[in-house]
């Protein structure tokens, strides 16, 4: 079977879609260099570099989508969305509602996210909870090359705005650009199966809002997205040797959220640990707890998330972003008799 690196898969799916649909154009900072392989195939009219003017080119991408194009707007990092948030928050996300369902903006915002390579808290956020909070935005966080390509096609086919988040630890090109830079002296904890893996010969869109069970288990459900899925799988492997059977559910999209798959696995295990690289408060981890409670499923719950601004120092960063040991410890505490683990936190 054919294998690809993560970003290679995204670009390959994008190329297939661009070949099929001439309305798809790419816009963004340094895009002619970042997507040079697409530039030499589709030409500069379809692969356009922009100035560092995020509010202008993201807003333009939204309106160009309203007027018939299918733009893929790239940001250098999801953190930089702060500069241009209005285009998504007040425009792209509101259009369908304001127009009584008669007008949508099928724009894809592609942005690298995530930490684990020492770039500091203004360059390593994930922000998917912040984005998914807004009604009208779809938020996609793939964890494997196959999902990344399939979900990019889904994002392009979707009728409304989609934020497509590409974790930098999985992306061979971003990690080289922002991390190693040709050095062999630095190591990053890259999940091998997320960074490179089998892909189909021809891409098909995966459904948005459809989670996938990465590992069966009966004692506890670990639920995550992106790199967190791989950390959860690694922890589940260790827990398995310790006699604990952990299931791992990969949500794949934060919004729409696959409430059915979540409810099923939680009903089966009775224990839920959310592994979320995004901030702990007011985000995905709390949302999953609410969904389970609303469904009336009895559950014991805990979460391993990022609680503070991500520190620059790698040693501190590794403790801030959920890691395998934190997940393992949190599961053990969660499975202890009820009163001993009253706080429900992973206790770091």
């Amino acid at each position: 079977m054919k294998t690809m690196y993560f970003t290679e898969a995204v670009d390959d799916a994008l190329a297939q879609a661009m070949g099929d649909d001439s309305r798809i154009i790419l816009l963004g900072e340094d895009v002619p260099m970042l997507r040079r392989n697409l530039l030499v195939r589709f030409g500069p009219k379809r692969v356009r570099g922009t100035p560092i003017s995020e509010s202008a080119f993201l807003g333009a991408g939204v309106a160009a989508a309203m007027a018939g194009l299918r733009p893929v707007v790239e940001l250098y990092m999801v953190d930089f969305l702060g500069v241009a948030m209005d285009a998504l928050l007040n425009h792209a996300a509101k259009l369908e509602a304001f127009s009584g369902g008669k007008w949508t903006a099928p724009v894809v915002v592609r942005a690298p996210c995530g930490g684990g390579y020492g770039d500091g808290g203004q360059h390593e956020q994930t922000l998917w909870g912040w984005l998914a909070h807004i009604p009208g935005l779809a938020v996609v966080v793939p964890s494997t090359p196959a999902d990344a390509g399939g979900l990019m096609l889904a994002a392009l086919e979707h009728d409304g705005p989609v934020v497509f988040l590409e974790h930098k630890l999985l992306s061979e090109s971003y990690l080289e650009f922002l991390g190693s830079g040709g050095r062999r002296t630095v190591q990053y904890d890259v999940p091998a199966e997320g960074a490179r893996g089998p892909v189909p010969n021809r891409w098909k869109a995966l459904p948005l809002g459809k989670a996938v069970l990465r590992r069966e288990g009966n004692d506890v459900a670990l639920v995550s997205v992106g790199v967190g899925v791989h950390r959860a799988l690694e922890a589940a492997e260790i827990l398995g040797k310790e006699g604990i059977s952990a299931a791992v559910l990969d949500l794949r999209t934060v919004s729409p959220l696959d409430k059915t798959a979540l409810s099923e696995i939680v009903a089966q295990t009775g224990h839920l640990l959310v592994v979320d690289e995004d901030y702990e408060g007011f985000g995905l981890s709390g949302e999953l707890a609410a969904v389970v409670m609303e469904a009336g499923i009895p559950v014991r719950y805990a979460r391993a998330c990022t609680q503070t601004t991500i520190p620059y120092a790698r040693s501190m960063e590794d403790q801030t972003i959920p890691n395998v040991e934190r997940i393992r410890t949190a599961v053990k505490r969660l499975l202890q008799p009820a009163m001993e683990s009253f706080t429900g936190r992973d206790g770091v």
Partner: protein
Amino acid sequence: MLGAHYNLSDKAMSVDLWSLYALMKRSRLFEEAVTELWKEGLISGEMHLGTGEEAIVAGVVSQLRPGDAMALDHRGTSAFLMRGVDPVLLLREMLGRPDGLCGGRGGHMHLLSREHLAASSGIVGAEGPTAIGFALAAQYLRPGAIAVAFFGDGAMNQGMLMESMNLAALWNLPVLFVCKDDGWAITTQPGTSTSGDMGDRVRGLGVHYMDVDGLDVEQVWQAAHQAIERARAGKEPTLLHVRCVHLEGHSLGLVLLRIARNPLGELPGIAGPLIRSFLRPGGGSLRERLAGVRLVLSAILATLRDPRRYSTNDPVVRVQTALKSDPARLKELDNRLEVEIAAALAAALQEAAA
């Protein structure tokens, strides 16, 4: 007194080249040490150096007084050094140590010093709002004090910076905008990203515009002197548009520079996928594909015609040449600076190991 170590007097009208050279050379040596730390993997992520823009930073920062503020970009290390921040604290910060300037939590893109009123940010253009806010506070709390914003030419297309210039002119804020123009926004050249004339643009906002050669520290100092005097006197704000060459490009390990320095080693890995993609059926016409190829090649060729090859594009070498009339003094100064930076590095590393 900041800068007093090198006998910089903020009242002097004539340029003290020796003092400016000392600031520049010290910064260069410091960033060369940082480069080694990065190469050894002791710095994990990106590293943006100010090598090549020392004349700009020295020409401006040497004229700041206590109470003046600085808003810096992701390339602010040299400004921190020249403002008098302890090099050991800066090194420890870059090594991610709890006893670094920001407790190892900021790193080189997010250096902050409350006591120096110096704040850096990795968000391009954010220096604009920060500088005018510092200047606004100065109007109320520190009359006569100013704020300086340092940013690159890429930031000139960022809305918040343009908005800040308008507000600065409108409110007559004591601020100096310094655009360090190296002609690149990472891999993007100004011809493909910037429309119109920068001078026309800012004059249209009511900002005084000065075009300056950033390789000539004397020229920068004189221009900055005028602009700072105007700001302190409550006249309209100034943009110093200063040209330079970043000796390490946007950041250490930048692929375009790696190609320029080692074309045979780097090009094959890039050319293979490019050629395969160019030949793939489905896509643009041959004409469109060739236009795409031309764009990629133009960025690579522009880097291969590397201005870094000429030492006349190195501002430190330029001052050094001017000071060669007194070789003994130059040698003594160089030695002193080398000893100081080597000691700082040793201190930071030794304690890191402990």
